[in-house]
Every structure is written in structure tokens, then in C-alpha cells.
Symmetry: C2
Subunit: 161 residues, 2 copies
DNA sequence: GCATCCATGTAATCTGTTACATGATTCC
DNA sequence: GGAATCATGTAACAGATTACATGGATGC
């Protein structure tokens, strides 16, 4: 948790939290700027020779305090999901049957891929005695993928009849 | 599907598609403007006496064509989800146990509420021989809520121990 | 009769996405 | 040796949220 550059932080996020809270690189930079405005992090210029110079950031005492305060609160940001294939499926009666079948097939493939990927992550996190919490977050993704596949099994026959 | 005002459309969306593709009122207006720019819809001023004047929109032939073309394609927008409680849970080891329990309890309550609401919708749509497609979209929401509740049953003991 | 909601939107601001830039390194 | 990737970001633009405005109707 020591000083990270915006780029480092972006990479970390991309491989972890981004599954349930996507953030683009430039959003990470923008957010770091905002946090610095509010005095929760400080940045330091770090010149480099072979690579572009960078700024690394670390929590200030106020930042650490704000983090604790946030964690002490049981509240959380409301969830919101954008599910593209459901939008189209909503108008499914207007789709040519082949396009519909193909779409459902793609949804299935994506869900299976997601499932495989998350199953791997969950297994790794189960073995390593790391964080039960990280494992739990991945596990919900896994369960969701399973639910999606089961749903496809359930509705595909009716929809493509 | 005849001429609707932006407000009408917003209301319709809010009660249907918004569950999996949220849109704010002003987004609807903005999008209608864009569609008009592209010639896919036309708007007509409709003066009213007791209520503010409005514009109603309808599809142009080009708009209808574009809609058909979209439906004929099996592709769909990628999904993205923002799940607030998972972000916090990711840092769960830093939470005071009571806050953690309370958070999980709230997640459960929300999921149960969601479940009840969607169960009602699915039932109505099953009875009325309306659209199997609309029913299918609601059903996925229902299955997701079930998956979330099952996940809570699975992980809550480990996490709050 | 006062407060709230309904039906209509517009405006200001904040968030988020996509494209661009660049020198070193690694892949084929 | 040319093309892609990495490690850094910045800049321009598009998308989304929140707040504001307003007169009639409706609830208490």
C-alpha cells in the first residue's frame, strides 16, 4: 500500500475491483487529482531516466482517517447495471429467429468464459490464505455467471420456439 | 408505439427497460434530439392549454429501417455493472465487525425486496400472454436476486466469524 | 388552504470515454 | 528490423446526474 503512481493504481484496479466497478485510466488520474484537492492524498514528482517521469501518491493522515470513517459506515453506493443483451431481448419479438439464437449463443459463451475465469480466481484465493473478502467478491461473480447460464437453459427453448 | 413525448417515453422506460439500462429524464430528451439530428425520428410541437406544451416524436421510415437493421444483428452492447457493496466488501478486513454485519444485512434486504418485486412482475407477465421476451428479461433479474441471496447464505458465516 | 405530485422540459455541472503522444523494450 | 506492448500520462469530447422552473391538479 505504499506510494503508487496513477498508472500502478490503474493496473491494480484493472485486475481486481474493475470487475464490479470499472474505471478507466483517465478516471483514475482525475480521481487522484480530486483526492489531492481534498487533501486526502499527496503526490510527489519522481523523475525517471529510461521511462517517463511519474508522480506517486500516498495517503495523508486525513486520507487514512477518511478511509477508516468510510469503512466504519455500513452504507454503500447503490448498484447499477447496464445489460446490453437484455435491451435487445426486450424487443426480441422483432428479431429474426436466427439473429436471436445467435445472440443467446453469444451470451452463453460470454457467461461461460466469465465463469471459467472467475472459477480460477476463486480457487487461487481459496488456496492462498489471503483475503476471504476478495474471495467472496469473486465468488459472487461466479454465482452470477452460473445464474445466467441456468437462466439461458430455462428460457432459450421458449424464446427460440 | 405512436407518437410519444419525451416525458411519455421516459415514463415508459422507467418502468421497463430501466431495470437493466437506466436512463435519466434528461438523457431521454438528449437522445431524442440526437436521433432527430440523424433523421431517425421527427418531433412535432403540440400546444396544450392546461399543461405545458410538448413535442411528440415518431419514427421516420429511416428510423424504422435502422431499428430493423439493429434487430437483425445478433450483436449487443457489452454489459457493465457497478456493484457498490462489493467495493466496500473488497476492503472488508478493515471494517468493524458490526458495520460489516449491518452491511450484509442491508444487502440481503435489498435483494429480497428486488426478488419480491420481480416475482410479481414475472407472474403478471406469465399470466397475460403478452411478451415472452419481457418476461424473460424480468426473470433474469429474479434469478440474479436469488443468486445474491444464496451467495449471502454461503459467505456471511465465514465473513462475520 | 398548504404541500406535494404531475407533466412538461432546460441548464449547469460532473463523470466517463476515446484518442493522442512518446521513448524503451520485447516479440516474431 | 517492424510491430506490438509497456509505462507514463494529457486533452478533447461525449454521456449522465442534479438542480431548476412552472402552473394545474390532487391529497389531507
Amino acid at each position: 500500500m505504499n506510494a503508487m503512481s496513477g498508472y500502478d493504481l490503474w493496473q491494480f484496479i484493472s485486475q481486481s475491483v474493475a470487475h464490479f466497478w470499472p474505471l478507466s485510466k483517465s478516471q483514475v488520474y482525475a480521481e487522484l487529482d480530486r483526492l489531492q484537492q481534498r487533501g486526502l492524498v499527496v503526490g510527489t514528482e519522481v523523475p525517471q531516466e529510461k521511462l517517463p517521469d511519474k508522480r506517486t501518491f500516498e495517503l495523508t493522515p486525513q486520507g487514512a482517517e477518511a478511509l477508516q470513517a468510510w469503512l466504519a459506515e455500513p452504507g454503500f453506493e447503490p448498484s447499477r447495471a447496464r445489460v446490453g443483451f437484455l435491451v435487445k431481448l426486450f424487443f426480441g419479438h422483432g428479431m429474426p429467429p436466427d439473429a436471436l439464437r445467435e445472440m443467446l449463443q453469444r451470451v452463453r459463451e460470454e457467461a461461460e468464459q466469465q465463469h471459467a475465469q472467475l472459477a480460477g480466481i476463486v480457487e487461487i484465493l481459496s488456496a492462498s490464505k489471503a483475503s476471504v473478502f476478495m474471495r467472496a467478491t469473486a465468488l459472487l461473480g461466479l454465482r452470477d455467471a452460473e445464474a445466467t447460464i441456468a437462466w439461458l437453459d430455462e428460457v432459450t427453448p421458449e424464446l427460440t420456439r
